[in-house]
């Protein structure tokens, strides 16, 4: 594990994302540079509108940079075409959202199977993999349930299971506890920490809650007005 932490998992170099709205240019992310080592648990903090989610979308390969570069697991996202970006989202990163984003018309098992379908995983043994993922997040008994039949905490755990389906090396979490009560939030955070510590998955979590960052993250990146204002590394 110590060897892994030496290598860089995520690196942003002067990353910028500007939008044009009418005649105005919105500088959602401007000239942001940082790196996160492999196996690290990092937090991205800042008030609403500071550019955290935009930066996370850029790292997830859902949005494209206006300038600069982002390298994740050795791959430069700025040079990828849309097909390569889809492949990157499929295999290299896993993403979880504040609002869970489970497909409401599918059962939990079907939701978790979805990324396996996109990755063209062999159909034989796919259901076993789904059950394994559900068991890891303590939801094997809920496989046949629809998301609406589950509590918020359970839905987020299912979303984490889905994000891990294709064994990504990086997990990007956008306010994962934002819609949860404190008990469920605690459960989800414990799960993320276990994944980071036991499986070596690099975690970058967006949050507006400094106490959460303090408790779980080794590195905290603070953003304001689209810029990175400070990087704080926790003492060992």
């Amino acid at each position: 594990m110590s060897e892994q932490t030496g290598a860089v998992a995520i690196e942003a170099r002067a990353a910028s994302r500007f939008y044009t709205m009418g005649e105005a240019t919105v500088r959602a992310v401007e000239d942001v540079s940082f790196h996160i080592n492999r196996g690290e648990f990092a937090a991205l903090l800042g008030p609403s509108g500071s550019g955290k989610s935009t930066l996370l979308n850029l790292l997830a390969g859902l949005d494209r940079l206006t300038a600069g570069s982002i390298v994740v697991a050795g791959r430069d996202l700025s040079t990828m075409d849309s097909e390569a970006l889809a492949r990157y989202r499929r295999l290299t990163v896993g993403m979880i959202f504040q609002s869970f984003n489970l497909v409401p018309t599918m059962t939990l098992a079907d939701n978790i199977e979805l990324p396996l379908r996109f990755a063209e995983t062999a159909r034989a043994g796919r259901r076993d993999r789904v059950m394994e993922l559900l068991t890891n997040v303590g939801l094997s008994h809920r496989a046949g349930h629809k998301p609406t039949e589950l509590s918020g905490g359970e839905q987020q755990r299912a979303a984490i299971a889905r994000a891990l389906a294709n064994n990504p090396s990086v997990l990007l979490a956008d306010e994962p506890t934002g819609n949860l009560d404190s008990r469920n939030g605690q459960e989800v955070m414990t799960l993320l920490r276990d994944l980071n510590q036991k499986m070596g998955v690099t975690v970058l979590m967006v949050t507006h809650d400094p106490s959460l960052a303090e408790r779980y993250a080794r590195k905290s990146l603070h953003m304001a007005d689209g810029r990175l204002v400070s990087t704080v590394e926790a003492a060992q």
């Binding site: 849309s82 097909e83 889809a86 993403m95 497909v103 079907d110 979805l114 990324p115 996109f118 063209e120």
Partner: protein, 435 residues
């Protein structure tokens, strides 16, 4: 994404909007049914017309004549009349030996005087081959056909029989006398003599219609005798004098031979073989080429008309899928976040369109077939009431079944192009923000 996953997801999505997709699929079914119904009618009518014409025996017949008789006729410029051999007994034997030929009968026709009940009538008398028995016009004969190919029996046109007796049916079974000119061999090959002869015949039947439909010439004759009997009578014919003045008179030739085949399937080959012998040949099959063209055009128009409903149905597919794109915006965003490529999203919508096309196509063919059966049934009830034999006006060939389903899938996939492209182009960040 592998194909099985694609169709599983498509089926799931369709189940989620069951009513809307079912209605759209029904729209396709109605469109395909109208297309199948229209084309089946076209094909059925063509089959019906073919069957009727085949029954007339016209297609089993090829008419052969020598090109020598066509000297100075510009329209036959493709064959030089001088090169054409004489249509004599040798040629007749050669044609009889061609595969599929059943009977070769010469055209025997001459002016004669008919005596009946003390009155005389000047008229045309012609030979009628044995094969004419199977013709529609003979089937409707009042009385009967010749008892044998060499019988001394006559069939009269009803109009002519009226001249003999105001009640034409009364002449049946009575005897009439035919006075004719007989050709007799001369001392040399370049001469013959003509002698007046008389022969008695029994009237066995009355014809309401001209045999061979009267299509070959306005009216061949008013009195018909068996061709073999006519040949044995050695009737003096107009062509005989024509032959006499030729540079090489030789043996007797025929002005025309009527070649009858076992079935219409041989007609084209026989016609071709006869032409290779340098004779002129004509069959009604030539005339049906334009009929076949007519049915091709009719089928095309019926197809276009039938496709209109399918065109409307395809708009319903576009509408349904655009609604699906709008409704599933967030889901498409989730799928993209999980690694679905633009092509995966596009393929998913195409799979949904194709599934609707396949189900709609299959239902439509079934519906079209049922409509056809119903109309056939109705038509036959009507025909039965009119004391006419049952007919099959509606034919759904297997190729039409397969073609209609493939066409429905194709139209559906084409209709899916725009919605699929729209779904694939969705920005995942925007789509995930959509509530």
């Amino acid at each position: 994404m592998i194909r099985q996953d694609l169709f599983e997801l498509a089926a799931r999505n369709m189940r989620n909007a069951r009513l809307r997709n079912a209605l759209t699929t029904m729209g396709i079914a109605v469109g395909v049914a109208s297309l199948v119904a229209m084309l089946s009618l076209g094909i059925g009518l063509q089959g019906f017309a073919n069957h009727q014409l085949m029954k007339s025996g016209m297609f089993q017949t090829v008419f052969v004549s020598s090109r020598q008789d066509m000297r100075n006729m510009e329209e036959n410029a493709d064959a030089k009349p001088e090169e054409s051999p004489a249509l004599n007994d040798d040629a007749r034997k050669q044609i009889s030996a061609l595969p599929g030929v059943e009977e070769v009968a010469p055209e025997v026709r001459a002016m004669s005087e008919v005596d009946f009940g003390g009155k005389s009538n000047f008229t045309l008398i012609a030979g009628l081959p044995q094969s004419a028995r199977e013709e529609d016009s003979i089937e409707k004969v009042k009385g009967r056909f010749f008892s044998s190919p060499t019988a001394d029996e006559v069939l009269l046109q009803r109009d002519f029989a009226k001249k003999l007796d105001p009640n034409p049916d009364a002449v049946l079974g009575k005897t009439l006398t035919v006075r004719y000119a007989q050709r007799q061999s001369g001392d040399t090959s370049s001469s013959f003599s003509i002698e007046r002869k008389e022969k008695q015949f029994v009237i066995v039947g009355l014809l309401d219609e001209e045999p061979f439909g009267g299509m070959r010439m306005i009216s061949r004759a008013r009195v018909f005798i068996p061709t073999q009997t006519a040949e044995a009578m050695n009737l003096m014919q107009p062509a005989d004098t024509q032959q006499l003045v030729r540079s090489s008179p030789g043996a007797r030739t025929y002005s025309m031979l009527t070649v009858r085949m076992k079935s219409a399937a041989y007609a084209e080959k026989v016609e071709e073989s006869v032409k290779q012998m340098h004779f002129s040949a004509y069959s009604y099959l030539d005339a049906t080429k334009s009929m076949r063209r007519f049915f091709a055009v009719l089928d095309m128009f019926l197809g276009i008309f039938g496709s209109l409903a399918l065109a409307v149905a395809s708009l319903a597919i576009v509408n349904t899928l655009i609604m699906a794109v709008l409704e599933r915006r967030r889901e498409i965003g989730i799928m993209k976040a999980l690694g679905a490529s633009d092509a995966d999203v596009k393929k998913l919508f195409f799979a949904e369109a194709a599934t609707m096309g396949l189900i709609g196509g299959a239902l439509g063919v079934t519906l079209g077939w049922l409509i056809g059966r119903a109309i056939n049934f109705g038509t036959n009830i009507y025909l039965h009431k009119m004391k006419m034999p049952a007919e099959n006006l509606w034919t759904v060939p297997p190729l039409l079944v397969v073609g209609a389903i493939v066409f429905a899938v194709l139209v559906s996939v084409l209709a899916g192009i725009y919605p699929a492209a729209r779904a694939a182009k969705l920005d995942p960040v925007q789509a995930l923000r959509y509530e």
